[in-house]
């Protein structure tokens, strides 16, 4: 582990994390803060007030040129023509057979200019996939991984606390705006991964510390990847590599809503066929009804497997997501999870697992 650490990449905020006493762990080839004060405190801060996450490991690809929209429409599952300039959209990247290569947010920065945010572990693969499918399109694909640091400021008070250090109105949900944050140029996006209101800030790596310091000075709590994971799981957001993978398609993952087969995207025929036939397994959120904590890889008794599991700090119980046979995927279905040999009773729940108003 010590030897491996030398080859891990560090974000521009690495020194800040060390100074703040963060526990750093390898994640997708990066040395990332997993927690500062403690995962429960950080989680509850985001639910109750605001927290900031360094997510600079996320990748970015810019697509520009006269055919930018036509190209992305061919490659992304959602209807790219519906993104207005200054808008944002979630989609998946599919193989021909419908297998999911990545899940992505795409921001439309200009008439012929889009920025797509990739998962760190998939960035190189995604970039190669895009380039391999760009023949016949008048587009330029630019790897912008090294051009951006990324901070997610999330929580019900995130906008209020951030407003004094931003030089204009923060973008609405699923909108993006070019603003100055703490004096530095930034792309501010009304998106996130916690189930709370908030923004994500993309900035030059050289400005990351200035912005981070200003956000912390605004009384926003620094939060690590452990809290990011518990927050996203309570909100039932997918994590690539856990809940999404090349061997499964978007329909069984519950992402049919972001697949518009009529656009003719790569994989659309397979996705249309899966939608028409109905998947044999479906990804469902569940909660344990007794003690225990489900974990990734735990078998579901009678078929299926847990793909994400944790202890929910808000619900104070074990929660997770699992692929289960379609006939046992209805909300309210009783399941049993094999947690290291113990059969833990669980029930299929509606999304999201945690809802603000109970």
């Amino acid at each position: 582990m010590v030897a491996a650490a030398e080859t891990l990449r560090r974000t521009p905020l690495f020194d800040r994390h060390v100074a703040a006493g963060a526990r750093l762990v390898p994640f997708a080839g990066w040395e990332m803060p997993v927690q500062y004060a403690g995962v429960k405190d950080e989680h509850l801060a985001v639910r109750g007030r605001a927290g900031v996450f360094d997510v600079s490991h996320m990748g970015e690809v810019e697509t520009r040129g006269p055919d930018a929209e036509r190209f992305l429409q061919r490659i992304l599952s959602n209807d790219v023509s519906r993104i207005a300039v200054g808008g944002a959209q979630y989609s998946v990247l599919c193989r021909e057979d419908g297998g999911v290569l990545d899940d992505l947010f795409t921001y439309r920065l200009g008439e012929d200019r889009y920025l797509t945010v990739t998962n760190a572990s998939n960035h190189e693969k995604d970039l190669a996939w895009l380039r391999a499918h760009a023949d016949g399109f008048d587009v330029e694909l630019v790897d912008r991984l090294d051009d951006f640091a990324m901070l997610a400021v999330q929580g019900p008070e995130a906008r209020t606390l951030l407003a004094p250090v931003v030089d204009g109105a923060l973008p609405d949900r699923f909108r993006v705006a070019e603003l100055r944050v703490a004096g530095a140029a930034a792309l501010v996006c009304g998106t996130g991964y916690t189930g709370e209101d908030g923004v994500e800030i993309l900035c030059a790596p050289a400005d990351a510390e200035t912005i981070w310091d200003a956000v912390l000075a605004a009384a926003v709590m620094p939060c690590g990847l452990a809290a990011r994971d518990t927050l996203r799981l309570e909100a039932c957001f997918h994590l690539y590599g856990n809940d999404l993978m090349e061997s499964r398609g978007p329909i069984e993952a519950g992402l049919g809503w972001c697949c518009k087969e009529a656009t003719g995207f790569v994989g659309s025929e397979a996705v249309a066929a899966a939608r028409a036939a109905g998947p044999t397994e479906r990804l469902v959120p569940f909660a344990l009804t007794g003690p225990g904590i489900p974990r990734q890889g735990n078998p579901v008794i009678g078929g299926g497997e847990v793909t994400s599991g944790t202890f929910s700090p808000c619900l104070e119980q074990g929660i997770g997501m699992a692929y289960v046979p379609a006939e046992r995927s209805a909300v309210g279905t009783e399941l049993a999870i094999d947690v290291r040999g113990k059969h833990r009773p669980a029930v299929v729940k509606d999304k999201p697992l945690y809802r603000k108003d109970g």
């Binding site: 526990r23 452990a226 994971d229 518990t230 003690p291 225990g292 904590i293 202890f311 700090p313 290291r340």
Partner: protein, 126 residues
């Protein structure tokens, strides 16, 4: 912060034993709870179960991971700290006091020779 009481014996896998006659109380060390982070679940063994030195007898879980708890000595469990069911955070707050896990009637008095004292345990953490 780190604390390793002198009156305990330690197993290198971060477990302690407080021996009182032929019964010992077991728990995990300050280092173990700090490495785990906030403990949110303790899965206790049954009273009457046999535990074996160096083998797992229970599980503790933090939000992000599960860890086996290793028995520092062999014997039969005579009492379990039921209070950890509703209050597993006691393992973090007071690892040598309210965070104790089980009491065990020891089966082999000679096993304690293989355990570490506080200084030796703390030294091997570095």
């Amino acid at each position: 912060m780190a604390d390793y009481p002198k009156d305990l014996l330690y197993h290198p896998e971060h477990d302690w034993a407080r021996i009182d006659g032929d019964v010992a109380t077991f728990g995990v060390t300050w280092y173990a709870q700090d490495s785990l982070g906030e403990v949110v679940f303790f899965d206790p063994p049954e009273v009457g179960a046999q535990v074996k030195q160096g083998e797992s007898y229970a599980e503790v879980e933090s939000v992000k991971a599960v860890s086996d708890v290793i028995a520092p000595l062999s014997g039969e469990i005579v009492e379990v700290n039921e209070a950890l069911g509703d209050g597993p955070e006691k393992i973090n707050d007071d690892p040598y006091g309210d965070g104790w896990m089980v009491k065990v009637r020891l089966s082999d008095a000679s096993e304690r020779e293989g355990l570490l004292d506080a200084d030796a345990y703390a030294a091997q953490l570095d």
